[in-house]
C-alpha cells in the first residue's frame, strides 16, 4: 500500500509484500497445513495487488449509492422510487442497495481494505525503523553499471577526493564511508510520509466511526417566536448514531425571534431569496430550576454561520410560511387557533398545509386542506403564485367535517389529513366550496358548520441540530494524511556513491546516483556533485551514459 514500492534493499516491489519461500517438498503440491493456509491467506490479503483490487471494488461499490436513492440520505425520495419500481424494489432491498454505505457487503470491502492496510503498514514500520538507523549501503563495485553515472580523472589523491566528497555530500545526505568509496543517502522521509498517510487513513476512519456512532442529527421546524429546548421530544425528526445516549444531549434552549429574507425582484435570478437571517436568543443551560440557568445570549443565525453551543451546532437550513388561522364551530367556540406550518412545494413557495380542528362533540371535527400563495394573482382565471415573497398572501383550502380520527391513538402526521371519516363541505347548490381568504378576512362555512379566520402570516425556520463528537480527530486525520501524502509524493529518495582509485598515475573518480522514486533528473544531481568535487582545479571531465 504505497505509491512507490521500493524495498529497503532497493529492489522494486514485485506485487506481494513478502515472498513465500518455505515450501515443504515432501507433500503433494497445493497441500497446506492449516497454519500455512492462514499464512498464505494473510499474505494474499496484504499483498499490493489485493489492496488494489479492493480499492477498485470500493469505488465500484460506492457507485449504486450515487445512482439509487438512499434511505439515510433522502427517505422520501427513496419511498417514491420504491413505489415507482415495484419489481426491482425487493431485489434491491435484499442487496442492501437502498442503504449501500451501511450494507454488510460494503462494510466487508472497507474492512478487508483496512486489514490489508494494517497488514501491509505494520511490517513496513519495522522495516523502516531498522533501515532508518542503518548506514547507507556500501557503494556497488562497478558504478558504471548503474544507469546514471559519471567519471573523471584528476591528479589529486583518492583520499582527498573522497574526504571532500563526504564533506560536500554530508550537507544534505547521510553519509557512510569505506575503503575507497563514499555512500550518501537522502529522502528517507518519503517512506515516512507514505506510512503517515496510511496510518492517518485509519485515524480518519476511527474519527468518522466515533462521529457517526455517538453523534446525532435532528431537525425541527420552529415558527418565529417559538422556543426550543434540547430534548428528544422537541425534535420533528431525529437520526441518532448506533451508540447515542439521550443523556449526552446538552441542556441548552433557544428562541427564534424573527426571520429576515431578501427577495430579488429583478435580474436573471428574479424571485430568488437570499440574506436569510434568524436572530435568536439562547441559554447554554436551562433545564430544571430557572435560578440555575445560564446567562441569555443573542446570535444572528445565518446560512454558513451555524451557532455552536458546547459540542452541538445549530444550522439554518430552510424556511417557509405559517398562516395564522382560527377555526370556530357553529356556536362560535374556538376549535383551533394559531400559526399552521405549510410546507413549500416549489421554489416560489406555493405551500401545502392542513388544519385539524377537533370538535367539541365527536363527529363535529373540522378539517381544512389546501394551498397557501405568498403572492397570489389570478391570471386567465387560474390562481397563480407569482413569487416567494409574501406580497399578497392568500389561502385557498377545501373544508371537511366529520371525524378526524385524532382519538384513535394512531399517530398522525400534522401535514396530512385522514379523510376516511370526513365529508367535504359543498355550497348549498352542490358546487365546490373553497375557503379563499386574505389576511383579516373571515369566511362562514356552508351548512352553518362554523367559520374560518385568516389573521396573517408568520415565518417558520427549519433548523438542523447536530452533534458530531470528536470531529477534530477526523480533521486531524485528514490533515496528517495530506502531509504524509505530500511527503510520499514529493520527497525524492536518492543515493549517491563516489569511488576513487589510482589508475595509471592519475586518480579515477566514478560517481553514480540512484533515484528510488524513479522520477528524478539525476544528470543535474551528478553534475552538481562533480562540480563540487572538482573545486577550482581544471581537470578533464567525461560523463557518459
Amino acid at each position: 500500500m504505497s505509491t512507490s514500492e521500493v524495498r529497503a534493499d532497493g529492489s522494486e516491489e514485485t506485487g506481494t509484500w513478502q515472498p513465500s519461500g518455505d515450501r515443504d517438498h515432501h507433500r503433494r503440491p497445493g497441500e497446506l497445513t492449516p497454519w500455512e493456509l492462514v499464512r498464505w491467506a494473510w499474505r494474499q490479503l496484504t499483498s499490493m495487488r489485493t489492496a488494489l483490487v479492493l480499492l477498485l471494488l470500493l469505488a465500484l461499490g460506492a457507485i449504486p449509492g450515487s445512482v439509487i436513492p438512499q434511505r439515510g440520505v433522502d427517505a422520501l425520495k427513496t419511498q417514491n422510487w420504491q413505489a415507482a419500481h415495484p419489481h426491482l424494489t425487493p431485489i434491491y432491498d435484499r442487496l442492501g442497495l437502498f442503504g449501500v454505505y451501511h450494507s454488510p457487503w460494503f462494510a466487508a470491502i472497507y474492512l478487508l481494505l483496512m486489514v490489508s492496510l494494517v497488514g501491509c503498514i505494520v511490517p513496513r514500520l519495522f522495516v523502516y525503523w531498522r533501515g532508518y538507523r542503518a548506514d547507507p549501503p556500501a557503494a556497488p563495485r562497478n558504478l558504471t553499471r548503474l544507469p546514471d553515472h559519471a567519471a573523471y580523472t584528476t591528479d589529486e589523491e583518492p583520499e582527498t577526493v573522497l574526504r571532500r566528497a563526504a564533506g560536500s555530500l554530508s550537507r544534505r545526505h547521510r553519509v557512510s564511508t569505506g575503503d575507497g568509496w563514499v555512500a550518501a543517502e537522502r529522502g528517507q522521509l518519503r517512506e515516512a510520509g507514505n506510512l503517515l498517510f496510511h496510518l492517518s487513513v485509519l485515524v480518519v476512519l476511527v474519527g468518522f466511526g466515533i462521529g457517526s456512532l455517538f453523534g446525532y442529527k435532528g431537525g425541527v421546524i420552529l415558527v418565529v417566536g417559538n422556543g426550543f429546548s434540547n430534548s428528544l421530544t422537541q425534535y420533528d425528526d431525529f437520526d441518532p448514531g448506533g451508540l447515542f445516549r439521550a443523556s449526552q444531549m446538552e441542556p441548552f434552549c433557544f428562541t427564534v425571534h424573527d426571520f429576515k429574507v431578501q427577495w430579488l425582484d429583478s435580474g436573471p435570478r428574479q424571485g430568488m431569496a437570499r440574506g436569510f437571517q434568524a436572530p435568536l436568543t439562547y441559554r447554554e443551560s436551562c433545564q430544571g430550576d430557572p435560578s440555575t440557568w445560564s446567562k441569555q445570549k443573542a446570535y444572528d443565525l445565518k446560512v454558513n454561520h451555524p451557532l455552536t453551543i458546547g459540542g452541538t451546532q445549530i444550522f439554518l437550513i430552510g424556511h417557509g410560511y405559517a398562516p395564522v388561522i382560527t377555526v370556530r364551530d357553529a356556536e362560535g367556540h374556538e376549535l383551533y387557533d394559531g400559526p399552521t406550518v405549510f410546507l413549500p412545494e416549489s421554489s416560489n413557495f406555493e405551500s401545502f398545509g392542513v388544519v385539524k380542528a377537533p370538535g367539541l362533540t365527536p363527529g363535529q371535527d373540522i378539517g381544512l386542506e389546501g394551498l397557501f400563495y405568498p403572492t397570489y394573482a389570478l391570471i386567465n382565471g387560474d390562481p397563480v403564485n407569482v413569487m416567494g415573497d409574501d406580497k399578497n398572501p392568500t389561502l385557498s383550502m377545501l373544508a371537511y367535517v366529520g371525524d378526524l380520527g385524532l382519538d384513535s391513538g394512531v399517530p398522525q402526521s400534522v401535514y396530512e389529513m385522514d379523510k376516511a371519516g370526513m365529508t367535504q363541505l359543498k355550497k348549498p347548490d352542490g358546487k365546490m366550496f373553497r375557503v379563499d381568504l386574505q389576511p383579516g378576512q373571515t369566511i362562514q362555512l356552508p351548512d352553518g358548520a362554523g367559520s374560518v379566520t385568516f389573521h396573517g402570516v408568520k415565518h417558520w425556520t427549519r433548523l438542523q441540530i447536530s452533534r458530531t463528537p470528536d470531529v477534530w480527530l477526523t480533521l486531524l486525520g485528514v490533515i496528517l494524511a495530506l502531509v504524509g501524502l505530500l511527503g510520499s509524493l514529493f520527497i525524492r529518495p536518492r543515493r549517491v556513491w563516489v569511488r576513487a582509485r589510482r589508475q595509471e598515475g592519475t586518480t579515477l573518480v566514478e560517481l553514480a546516483a540512484l533515484d528510488r522514486s524513479g522520477g528524478g533528473d539525476l544528470t543535474v544531481v551528478l553534475s552538481s556533485v562533480v562540480d563540487s568535487l572538482q573545486s577550482d582545479r581544471r581537470t578533464t571531465e567525461e560523463t557518459s551514459r
Binding site: G15, L55, V73, A150, G267, V478, L489, D521
Partner: protein, 344 residues
C-alpha cells in the same frame, strides 16, 4: 464600467478566445502535417544529454524538427522554416487566447453585483476549468516538453468553450446563499486546479496507450504524430508527475475543504450526497492509479487505463451528475436543485 458592460466584455472575450484557440489549432495542424513528411531524424537522438534521463529536450518538437533538419534526408530550408514558424505561431496564438480567456473570467466576476469569484454556475466552472487546463499546459510545456500536446490542448479548448457557450451558458447572477462563503474560493479553486491537472495527466495517459498500441502492432514508423511523441517511459513519467501534483490538491478539495464547508453550510461534513460519493470514487480511482504504477502487472498500460477511468469519473462528476442525479439533500430554501450545482 457597468456590470452590463463587464458581462458583455466577458462574453466577447470568451468568444474571441474560442476563435483564437481554433486558429492556434489550425496552426498546430499545419505544423504537424508538415512534420509528417519528415522522418524522426537520428540527429535528434544524438542530442540526448549524456548519462542523463532528461528526455525533455529530446521530445521537444522544436528540437526534433531541428534534429530532423540535420538528419540524412534533410528537408529543404523552406519546410524547416515553415514547421518552426507554425509551431511558434500556434504557441503564440494559444498564449493570446489564454489571455483573452482570462479577461473573460475576470469580466464574469466583475459583472456580478456584488463582485465575486466567477464560480457560481456550470458555465463559469467549465470556462474556469478550461482555463486551468490551458494554463497548466503553458506552464509545464517547457519543463516536461509538452509541445506535442499543442494540437490536442487547443482542440479540447475549442470543444470545451463551445460546450460552455452553447449548452451551459447562464447570464451573470448573484450567488445563492449557501455559496456565499470564503470556502467557495478555497474549495472550488482546489477542485478546479486538480481537474485541470488530471485532465492534462489524462491526455498524456491516453497518448501513452495510443503509442503503446501502435508500437505493439509493429508500426514502428518514423513518421507522423505518434512517432514524435515522447518515449513510453517518458510519457508514463510525465503523466505520473502531473497526477502526483493533482492528487494532493484533489485530496484537499474533496476530503478537507469540501467537508469543512459542508459542515458549516449543511451541518454534516459527509452526507453521502451523489456529488460527494462521485468525488470520493474519483479519489479512490486515482489512489488506485498511483498504487498501480508501482505494482507488477499493473504498470504502464493498466495504470494508464485507470487514470483514464478516473478522468471519466471526474468529468462525469463535474458536469454529468448535475443532470443525471437529482437526489440532493442540500436544497436550501428554494427547494429545487439550487445547491446541487454547488460543488461544480
Amino acid at each position: 464600467m457597468s456590470d452590463f458592460q463587464w458581462e458583455h466584455l466577458s462574453n466577447q472575450a470568451i468568444a474571441a478566445a474560442g476563435v483564437v484557440y481554433f486558429l492556434a489549432l489550425l496552426s498546430h495542424l499545419v505544423e504537424w502535417s508538415a512534420l509528417r513528411t519528415v522522418p524522426v531524424g537520428r540527429a535528434a537522438k544524438v542530442a540526448v544529454p549524456a548519462g542523463g534521463v532528461s528526455t525533455s529536450s529530446t521530445d521537444d518538437v522544436g528540437a526534433t524538427a531541428e534534429g530532423a533538419g540535420a538528419g540524412a534526408d534533410a528537408p529543404d530550408e523552406a519546410k524547416r522554416y515553415r514547421i518552426a514558424m507554425f509551431g511558434r505561431l500556434g504557441l503564440l496564438l494559444t498564449v493570446i487566447a489564454c489571455g483573452a480567456h482570462f479577461v473573460g473570467l475576470v469580466g464574469r466576476g466583475m459583472a456580478a453585483d456584488p463582485n465575486r469569484v466567477p464560480w457560481g454556475n456550470m458555465y463559469e466552472f467549465t470556462i474556469t476549468g478550461a482555463f486551468v487546463v490551458v494554463l497548466g499546459y503553458l506552464l509545464l510545456r517547457k519543463r516536461y516538453g509538452l509541445s506535442w500536446m499543442g494540437p490536442i490542448i487547443t482542440a479540447i479548448e475549442v470543444v470545451l468553450l463551445m460546450v460552455a457557450v452553447l449548452w451551459l451558458y447562464d447570464p451573470v447572477a448573484p450567488l445563492t446563499e449557501a455559496l456565499l462563503s470564503y470556502w467557495l474560493v478555497i474549495h472550488v479553486v482546489s477542485a478546479i486546479i486538480a481537474t485541470g491537472a488530471f485532465t492534462l495527466g489524462g491526455i498524456t495517459s491516453a497518448l501513452y496507450l495510443v503509442k503503446a498500441r501502435s508500437l505493439s502492432r509493429g508500426k514502428g514508423s518514423d513518421r507522423g504524430y505518434i512517432a514524435r511523441l515522447p518515449s513510453l517511459p517518458t510519457l508514463d513519467r510525465v503523466s505520473y508527475r502531473i497526477h502526483a501534483f493533482g492528487f494532493p490538491v484533489w485530496t484537499f478539495a474533496v476530503l478537507i475543504s469540501g467537508p469543512i464547508w459542508a459542515h458549516q453550510a449543511w451541518s454534516s461534513y459527509w452526507n453521502w450526497d451523489p456529488k460527494e460519493v462521485c468525488a470520493f470514487i474519483t479519489w479512490v480511482l486515482y489512489a488506485a492509479y498511483l498504487h498501480a504504477r508501482s505494482t507488477a502487472g499493473w504498470k504502464g498500460r493498466n495504470a494508464a487505463i485507470l487514470s483514464l477511468v478516473g478522468l471519466a469519473s471526474l468529468w462525469f462528476n463535474f458536469i454529468g451528475i448535475n443532470y443525471f442525479s437529482t437526489t440532493s439533500q442540500h436544497s436550501y430554501a428554494n427547494g429545487s436543485a439550487v445547491v446541487s450545482l454547488h460543488e461544480g
